[in-house]
């Protein structure tokens, strides 16, 4: 089975090989274990980019394959980050507090220890008590479970409500966007118990491993992210290559026909929506310890829209396209906003990329939508043997699937 699956998906093997090569090369060039050509901050950037690739895969599954333009997947990503962040924050603070209380003449009671940790964590936001949602924060296993469960359950509840009432298309997009907005506004409140606008910080310091240099920690996370991306890729490729994937594409192309064929469209959508939310959560849990801080601004609606942009530019409906889009655009963004791109002097005006990058991104995004709906991934069609049958009519883009322009007009 595995053999035949890989044989049917040669791109998977190529992708995995490329990913492995990339990881090894970065490791060899890194400051932590290699020659020091790649700085630790860039290793972190690369590790984070891999996580973005993973969340882009989950976005591609819901959008590129099932036609649900979810503007909420970055919220699931952020929730995953919050869940792991709670444990990191709690454990790190506990270590500090325990060592500082060790000198006290009277040993601290469990309550005093708890209060001291709470004061440390919530002191900056003017509180000194653990909210209920931190109940499991002392257990790594439980918080890891929550990384999957919390986004999953939110997606399940939201999806069940939305798909049940047959909300689809742009309505669903706007609704998911509203959900993201509500979640980020909620987290912005100090009363949410997740430190409001400040969020959870200092996540790059792993509890108990304070002596390990960040150069090494960043590599561990790079490997972890690469592994997660590889597994996520294989899983996604496997899912879409089977019968499940066929039904999804059917739903994307004509939901009503699939429903008439007797498939429970809602269940398929719900399973996919929930599954990809879990995947996004895992990506987030790997991303934020590398970023070092998570706060509500991360899950603002704009972030989810950017996610859609990456996938669109990379090429929807093909998994490697999503990864390429996420990697390409986010790295390019960081290059342009990092002030390293050379300014262009036009004589009468100097183009500073810090100012103009977003304009270029926005317009190139319009151009991709208009003229290259297949995105960067479409370039691979030119070199691969995949030739589209001539169906007498321009492609409407993956959204409309089998629908050709002529049919659409009718």
């Amino acid at each position: 089975m595995q053999n035949s699956f890989l044989a049917r998906n040669p791109s998977t093997l190529i992708f995995l090989a490329a990913l492995a090569l990339f990881t090894i090369v970065v490791t060899l060039l890194s400051e932590g274990l290699g020659m020091g050509f790649v700085s630790t901050s860039f290793v972190k950037t690369l590790g984070k980019t891999l996580c973005l690739g993973l969340v882009a895969i989950s976005m591609d599954l819901v959008w590129g394959y099932a036609g649900i333009l979810s503007l909420g997947h970055f919220a699931f990503f952020g929730l995953g980050g919050y869940m792991i962040g709670m444990w990191l924050m709690y454990e790190r603070t506990r270590d500090v507090v325990v060592s500082s209380l060790a000198d006290a003449p009277i040993p601290a009671s469990a309550q005093e220890l708890n209060d001291a940790i709470a004061t440390q964590i919530f002191g900056v936001v003017g509180s000194a008590e653990f909210p209920l949602i931190w109940a499991f924060s002392d257990s790594l296993v439980l918080q890891l479970a929550l990384v999957v469960l919390v986004p999953g359950l939110l997606a399940l509840a939201f999806g069940w409500l939305a798909f049940r009432s047959r909300v689809a298309g742009v309505y669903l997009s706007i609704l998911t966007q509203a959900m993201t907005l509500a979640l980020s506004l909620y987290l912005f409140q100090n009363d949410s118990g997740l430190r409001g606008n400040n969020g959870l910080s200092g996540l790059q310091n792993l509890p108990g491993l304070t002596d390990v240099p960040q150069a090494l920690v960043s590599l561990w996370f790079l490997w972890g992210s690469a592994l997660a991306l590889g597994l996520g890729y294989v899983l996604a490729a496997w899912v879409v290559s089977g019968k499940f994937g066929s039904v999804l594409r059917g739903i994307r192309d004509d939901e009503a026909r699939v429903r008439f064929l007797g498939y429970s469209v809602e269940s398929y959508k719900l399973v996919l929506f929930t599954g990809t939310a879990c995947m996004a959560g895992i990506a987030g849990a790997l991303y934020y310890p590398q970023a070092g801080i998570i706060n509500p601004a991360e899950i603002a609606p704009i972030a989810s829209i950017y996610l859609a942009v990456w996938v669109a530019i990379g090429g929807r409906g093909r998994i490697y396209g999503a990864v390429i889009g996420a990697v390409f655009v986010s790295l390019l963004s960081s290059w342009f906003t990092g002030g390293r791109a050379p300014n262009i002097d036009l004589g009468f005006y100097t183009i500073q990329w810090v100012d103009w990058w977003l304009v270029v991104l926005g317009l190139s995004f319009v151009l991709v939508t208009l003229f290259a709906p297949k995105g960067i991934g479409g370039l691979f069609d030119l070199i691969s043997s995949r030739i589209m049958p001539d169906r007498h009519g321009a492609d409407l883009g993956p959204d409309d699937g089998a629908l050709r322009e002529r049919e659409a007009r009718e």
């Binding site: 036609g67 003449p105 009432s165 742009v170 609704l175 009363d191 669109a312 100012d355 304009v359 319009v366």
Partner: protein
């Protein structure tokens, strides 16, 4: 006595300053000011009173002028000789100086040689109070009004007599009314005659004025007290407080501790600190330190310390309860007269009912106002999204473009009224053009791909937003309303709404009318509806769908631009102005029901009132209100996926 002293001082000063001051002679008011010079220069509310009193009690006719100049920050100090003058600006560096006593111009001085006296608002208020007695009978009605405002801000007993004396001579009817009212309020607070006070209280019963309520509340101020027996007769008891009911036992016990009637409670932290002081050989009070993580062990160790006399005994719960039951807690009015407080309570009750009703009205006005803002922001979308079905994520940026147009016009046309009149059509034109361009260049290629329209217009949105930042910078830009829109329509002290919000409401209504007119009565409206419902059929009837789509989209965008001018007037003009409204605007249209302008109206009304309602329930956290509102909308859409007004039949499209 003071006169005598002053004259002495005057002579003294004259002698001492004679050398430094050959041109001017020390005059009486200058002498008073010089005597208080230190306090005047220090200018602190806490210490200024003697200086103000000295000026008022000098009996000099120019006292009023001095106080007024001082209050208006027109009093300056000449650094060279420390004399005070009234100064008027000649140009940016030089000032004309006027002597207070003669009122005559005594010369000019460069600014660097002068020091302006800047009484802070607290000092200015005190000067205002001192001025009351002069201004109450001033020929200028504005000054008389200022005096009344001073009385309202700082009511005091000493003002009652001059106020009463000035009422009979008041010629202006409006001012007389105000004076009578101020007199009643002062009588309530400071009157000597109980019957007169009660009469005044009954008179203002139900009055919504903040000053009236303030007067009553001040009268009803009370404090909690504790007695071992029944309260004595000479106090005015508001009510008895039952422990555990009206007053918590912790509060009550703290009150007893404050009166030093009982020993204080010992907190866990106190126990820990005390124990830490008595550690010997790893043990405290016979308990090993390692065991002290348990509260029980700590109490045991502490008990041992108490037994040894090393620590204060901690009162037990039974002792606390016993102490509480032995005392009577009561709230006492500061005002000794029971009859007055009773009347005030009664008046307050009737006022509270009025206030409650008016607050509800005010909340409703706020709700209407917010609804009209949402409606205005969403009405353009109601056309592009509701009628044409085009998702335009750049709608917010069209609003922003409108606002910036208003700003640019105001830079060119300084008159605010004219600039707004110019800005509104211009904003429409600019965003109409932008809308048409976008429709031609982007959207028309994507009519069959709604999700991609969403993404492409989003690309336009981020590009436009960044473009605005590059052009106008990131600072917020001022867009100032014309003076006739300043201020608020004040119904009473509770209900008021700013004119600018009323203007937005009117504008929203106007657009509703325009929308209805265009859609129902014009050829464009007919064609738009036809093209939307069935483009193929419309085309075969000779309608050019391209042209109609273009014009309709331009219309929707143009309206967004005008909305931008209005929103910029009441809020801010920044490049992020649009993105603040975009999600809410889509919500408004979706909740109301796509394709129906009345739906959008209901949607905006529902969201506006809802948000204000939640804000009212939780006044300390506006963010929570927004969160809960969105969650409510999400749930609402589950039950009415097509919005409040759902289109039926063929109009529904799919």
């Amino acid at each position: 006595m003071i006169r005598l002293f002053l004259t002495g001082l005057f002579v003294l000063l004259n002698c001492s300053l004679a050398v430094a001051q050959s041109t001017s002679v020390q005059t009486p008011m200058q002498a008073v000011l010089q005597e208080q010079s230190e306090l005047i220069v220090k200018s602190s509310r806490k210490s200024i009173a003697p200086a103000i009193d000295a000026i008022t009690e000098s009996g000099l006719p120019q006292a009023q002028d001095v106080l007024q100049a001082w209050q208006g920050k027109d009093m300056w100090l000449r650094k060279a000789d420390g004399l005070f003058f009234r100064a008027e600006k000649l140009d940016s560096k030089t000032y004309k100086l006027f002597d207070f006593d003669s009122g005559e111009r005594v010369g000019e001085a460069p600014k660097s040689e002068l020091k302006q006296l800047k009484p802070n608002s607290g000092v200015r208020a005190l000067i205002g109070v001192a001025l009351v007695q002069f201004q109450l009978n001033d020929p200028d009605p504005e000054r008389r009004r200022a005096a009344l405002v001073s009385i309202e801000r700082n009511p005091s007993e000493s003002l009652l007599a001059p106020l009463r004396a000035s009422i009979t001579t008041e010629s202006d009817e409006g001012l007389k009314e105000m004076k009578l009212r101020a007199e009643r309020l002062l009588t309530i607070s400071f009157g000597a005659d109980e019957a007169a006070r009660i009469e005044a209280i009954e008179y203002i019963s139900g009055d919504l004025g903040v000053d009236a309520r303030a007067t009553l509340n001040r009268l009803l101020a009370s404090k909690t007290d504790v007695f071992t027996d029944a309260p004595p007769d000479n106090v005015n008891v508001a009510r008895r407080l039952e422990v555990g009911d009206a007053i918590s036992s912790a509060e009550a016990y703290q009150l007893l501790v404050d009166r030093q009637l009982v020993p204080p409670l010992v907190s866990q932290n106190d126990i820990r600190l005390t124990l830490a002081q008595h550690v010997t050989d790893g043990k405290v009070g016979g308990v090993s330190v390692a065991a002290l993580t348990e509260a029980v062990q700590r109490e045991k160790a502490y008990g041992a310390l108490v037994a040894e006399g090393l620590a204060e005994p901690a009162p037990t719960e039974a002792e606390v309860n016993a102490a509480l039951s032995q005392h009577i807690f009561a709230e006492l009015y500061d005002e000794p007269s029971a009859a007055v407080t009773q009347a005030a309570e009664k008046a307050m009750q009737s006022t509270s009912v009025h206030v409650g009703l008016n607050q509800a009205a005010d909340l409703a006005l706020d709700g209407i106002s917010l609804a009209s803002i949402y409606f205005l922001a969403a009405i353009g979308l109601a056309i592009t999204f509701g009628v044409m079905g085009v998702i335009n994520m750049a709608h917010g940026e069209f609003i922003m473009m409108g606002a910036y147009t208003g700003y640019v016009v105001q830079q060119v046309v300084p008159n605010h009224t004219i600039s707004i009149i110019v800005a509104i059509p211009l904003a429409f034109a600019v965003t109409f053009a932008a809308g048409v361009a976008m429709e031609r260049l982007v959207i028309r290629w994507l009519y069959n791909r709604p999700l991609e329209t969403l993404l492409a217009t989003f690309g336009v949105s981020i590009a436009l937003q960044q473009l605005a930042k590059n052009i106008f910078g990131t600072q917020a830009r001022p867009l100032t309303a014309p003076a006739w829109l300043d201020g608020a329509w004040v119904l009473n002290d509770v209900v008021s709404i700013s004119y600018i919000r009323i203007a937005i409401f009117v504008l929203a209504l106007g657009f509703l009318a325009i929308f209805l007119f265009i859609m129902k009565r014009t050829r464009l409206g007919l064609e738009t509806r036809a093209v939307t419902q069935n483009p193929g059929m419309a085309a075969s009837m000779g309608i050019n769908p391209n042209r109609v789509n273009m014009l309709t989209f331009g219309l929707g965008s143009g309206i967004a631009g005008v909305a931008g001018v209005a929103i910029g007037l009441f809020a801010k003009v920044t490049s992020e102005l649009g993105s603040d409204y975009i999600v809410q605007s889509f919500m408004t249209v979706v909740v109301g029901g796509v394709g129906n302008i009345w739906g959008t109206l209901f949607g905006a009304a529902m969201i506006g009132f809802m948000q204000k309602g939640i804000e009212w329930l939780n006044p300390s956290n506006t963010l929570a209100a927004q969160t809960f509102m969105i969650i409510f909308i999400i749930i609402f859409i589950q039950f009415r996926p097509r919005g409040i007004i759902a289109l039926k039949g063929r109009a529904a499209g799919d």
